[in-house]
Amino acid sequence: EKEDVTVVKLNEVTHSVFYAPQYAAISQGFFSDEGLKIEITNGQGADKVLTAVISGDSDIGFCGPEASVYVYNQGKEDYAISFAQLTKRDGSFILGRDPDPDFTFDKLIDKDVIGGRKGGMPMMNLQWVLKQNGIDPDQDVNIDSSIQFAAMAGAFKGGTGDYVSLFEPTALALEKEGAGYVVASLGVESGEVPYTCYNATKSYIEENPDIIQKFTNAIYRGQLWVKENSPEEIAQAIVEFFPDTDIDDLTAVVKRYKDQDSWNTTPMLTQDSFEHMQNIMESAGELNKRAPFDDLVNTKFAETAIENIK
């Protein structure tokens, strides 16, 4: 069996508990069952993930499909196609400097909010949510898009801004320090979007349909597994990927994501959610031309996986 193990180079946008189903799939052996060995690189940003995929350094990229829309719209021939979806919501939270159970979005008016960098999904999503809540992100709030994603928590702790939008486990770390408190979940507010998906170049998919299929299968089994297990069990399963995080913290974070229904239960990326994402991009002013779903998404592998695995 061991002889025909295929190594797949996976480039993830960031290393986060948010992607628990993926790590669970690895630790539970779903990939090795399929004869795949996953080699993870931390791409540190959707742009770099896709760059790695396009240049052929990574086989499969894991990031928001907005990046592949950019690439497609720049006229790249061998663009990246998304074939499986892992998370269906924004994984970030808004933190304030004090606990605020009665938080409403009006409270952000005239405040400084640290968002992600311009053109990135976290930033666009934040703008969208604000608009949904009747707030003009350009006029009413002061969104600080100047800070590198990885440095946002530090900047907030260091005194910049009134609110910050952060991923886990950073949000929890700030809470534990008493430096910030989660007041709202952007995931809950934004509705379902294809927040993080797996993609590969058109040519790679054409040449390696079986690898893509096996990969999708394993992801699907991971999704099923986290659905059926408790936060404690999930935390146990993925702790090896977060050696520096305390197990209790990990459990808390997993619970937070599980409770707000962050994870897709299947790898299926629907046209509705894809168009919804393009709406968000359009509204943020980063999209001058909508990209066709049929070109950018391939649902065939997800369908096969769902059919074959019970």
Binding site: D47, I147, A151
Partner: protein, 269 residues
């Protein structure tokens, strides 16, 4: 061209002619290389020998440039980065010189500081990025701190080694006149190390650019580094490439300005 009333020998005319031809050849080759490179880039992109999505292409760069210019943002970004660089450069020059003076003044301090300076010198200051943000806050100050951190140690050791290289005999000379330590510093050591200092400045200005770009990657609302980050975020490699070209031109110009100031400052050379 130098012209004189004198009649020069035939041999001399030939020599001058050869010099001129030589100079012409150099300039021609430079130009041809540049033009050829641009044309090749354009053609290769057009004919899809290279992937113009990745490498961009001259006409696209030009278009982006025109866009930036007409939108009026070009100068905003350029100005921001240049200003940060100048502030960072000036700060680290002054600070570095002052520290170098202290080290020169007290051999004891200089000996004590030595191993620390070696470690600080080898430490890739880039790594401090996240820490700087936390410490001085996310803003232009962080960018300038980054620029200063990156160029400071090099400035200190450049200037200090200029100080220690000063001809001992010159110091002995003013000592025979009974000079105080302060006089030795101001009358001999500082002016004598002008050339070394300006040389250190040439390195310093390059590092300040690096620091500012690094800083802008970390935190920025505007600037060429910001443009690069934004461009790569939304996969507009044309924008990235254009920014880099502007950047290298700006850096080259600033280097030449320093070189020019150096020439003016050291007329006796």
């Amino acid at each position: 061209m130098y012209m004189s009333e004198k009649n020069f020998s035939k041999e001399h005319e030939q020599y001058i002619k050869k010099l001129k031809t030589n100079r012409f050849n150099v300039i021609a080759t430079r130009t041809i290389l540049l033009v050829f490179f641009i044309i090749f880039w354009e053609v290769a992109a057009e004919l899809q020998w290279i992937d113009s999505f990745i490498t961009s292409q001259p006409t696209r760069v030009l278009k982006t440039l025109v866009n930036l210019f007409t939108e009026g943002t070009l100068f905003k970004h350029l100005f921001t980065t240049v200003l940060e660089t100048i502030i960072g450069f000036t700060t680290s020059t002054i600070l570095g010189t002052v520290i170098a003076i202290i080290l020169w003044w007290s051999p004891f301090i200089s000996k004590v500081a030595d191993p620390y300076l070696v470690v600080l010198n080898s430490l890739p200051k880039v790594a401090l990025g996240p820490i700087i943000l936390v410490w001085v806050g996310a803003g232009p100050v962080a960018i300038i701190v980054m620029a200063v951190l990156i160029s400071l140690v090099v400035t200190i050791s450049g200037v200090y080694s200029g100080f220690t290289d000063v001809d001992e005999a010159k110091i002995t000379l003013v000592k025979t006149f009974g000079a105080t330590k302060l006089q030795i510093l101001t009358k001999v050591v500082l002016p004598a190390s002008y050339p070394t200092i300006t040389n250190a400045l040439k390195i310093n200005v390059g590092l300040s650019w690096v620091g500012v770009i690094m800083g802008e990657f970390l935190v920025s609302k505007a600037g060429l580094g910001y443009l690069i980050v934004y461009g790569s975020q939304v996969f507009q490699l044309d924008l990235v490439m254009t920014s880099i070209l502007i950047l290298s031109l700006a850096a080259g110009v600033m280097y030449q300005i320093i070189a020019y100031i150096e020439k003016k400052l050291i007329p006796y050379k």
